[in-house]
Symmetry: C2
Subunit: 215 residues, 2 copies
């Protein structure tokens, strides 16, 4: 039962853009905008209009020729495509500075994500309660808690040296998706979805650009 991903020949970049579109559509719904054309949305997102139409065309025909897209309807469709018509249950590993910040991040719930459990190995932390209310579990309880609470996404905020092990333990407990904040390339079995959030790499990109700009 090794990966599969069905018939999906859809660029990752497309999914990333859909996520960005949904953000702006969400704002438009708030503002009461009813209809939007690809040119207008493209401008907002800093993307080519044809790109938007192509992205959407992978999944169906959502627009009206000569008019544009109904904002509400399009947002609904995109959320359905992305799988955001439910609340995803996450576990957080590593309650350092970053982990604490993530646990307190209010946007998650609004966006359809929720931490249902948090973990650390530090005896000084285990058993304590975060401002957000969760009790910090010891990693030894991971397997049990993950299964009990039905965790679907693991978020890794440990130091780099502990990230690989933490990820493996999540996978072994049945978690299929990892959001990794540690600056390391995780080596995980096929069929696991991994996304890295790596600001060191981003900073290095900026440093390079600045260095080039000067020459």
């Amino acid at each position: 039962m090794r990966s599969a991903m069905k018939f999906s020949k859809i660029p990752t970049a497309t999914i990333t853009r859909l996520s960005i579109y949904s953000r702006y559509l969400e704002a438009m719904v708030q503002e009461g905008v009813k209809i939007i054309a690809s040119d207008k949305l493209a401008q907002k997102c800093g993307i080519n209009p044809a790109q938007i139409r192509k992205d959407l065309a992978y999944f169906g025909e959502f627009g009206i020729r000569g008019v544009g897209y109904f904002v509400k309807e399009l947002l609904f469709e995109i959320k359905r495509i992305l799988g955001l018509n439910k609340i995803w249950k996450m576990a957080l590993i590593g309650i350092g500075n970053l982990g604490s910040a993530l646990s307190a991040h209010q946007n998650f719930i609004r966006q359809g994500y929720e931490f249902v459990a948090v973990f650390d190995v530090d005896p000084a932390k285990v058993g304590r309660r975060l401002p957000s209310g969760q009790i910090i579990h010891h990693m030894d309880e991971l397997d049990q808690v993950v299964k009990e609470k039905g965790v679907e996404i693991g978020v890794i905020a440990t130091p780099a040296a502990k990230a690989q092990m933490a990820a493996l333990r999540l996978i072994n407990s049945g978690v299929k998706a990892i959001l990794n904040f540690a600056p390391i390339q995780l080596q995980l079995p096929e069929g696991t979805a991994v996304e890295n959030v790596d600001f060191t790499v981003k900073l290095d990109n900026l440093a390079y650009n600045l260095t080039m700009a000067e020459g």
Copy 2:
């Protein structure tokens, strides 16, 4: 005096990978490894070996045929290319949960980055001192402090609604590079380097993958 970027026809992806290589080379230096072949490094990074050689070839010939690369030498060259042979001075805007976590992040210094100033607009925060030692300035002092301290990179950790304005103020003070943690597409003048760190988008990618995997 509009952008330029000189003769750089080098893929962003290449720069990102160089950053990743440097990480593993750093570890190897620690471990006392003297020589590495592209195949070996490729395995570590989960990248095609030819890709590594191509990436390096943009900048020169650093290897020895039939042997590989001297680890220390290659690391030095990559750091030079990325512009990491200096300490980059950063300003942090927005001292919420995330901002606080970033300000405390010890890896930055080790990596060649340093926060020389931090800002917020909340009167309850301005004037207070962070655990890391910095005093929180009011945004009104931005221009002055940025120039005084020679800030080169702005890091935005404000709510989405405040990010665009914060970015513009940084740019107007002479900052040329922005690391943006707010979930919004910044609209900035040409010649500004922007990198987005956007974990909402990453989560949406995971949600999509999980949804597809089930069907």
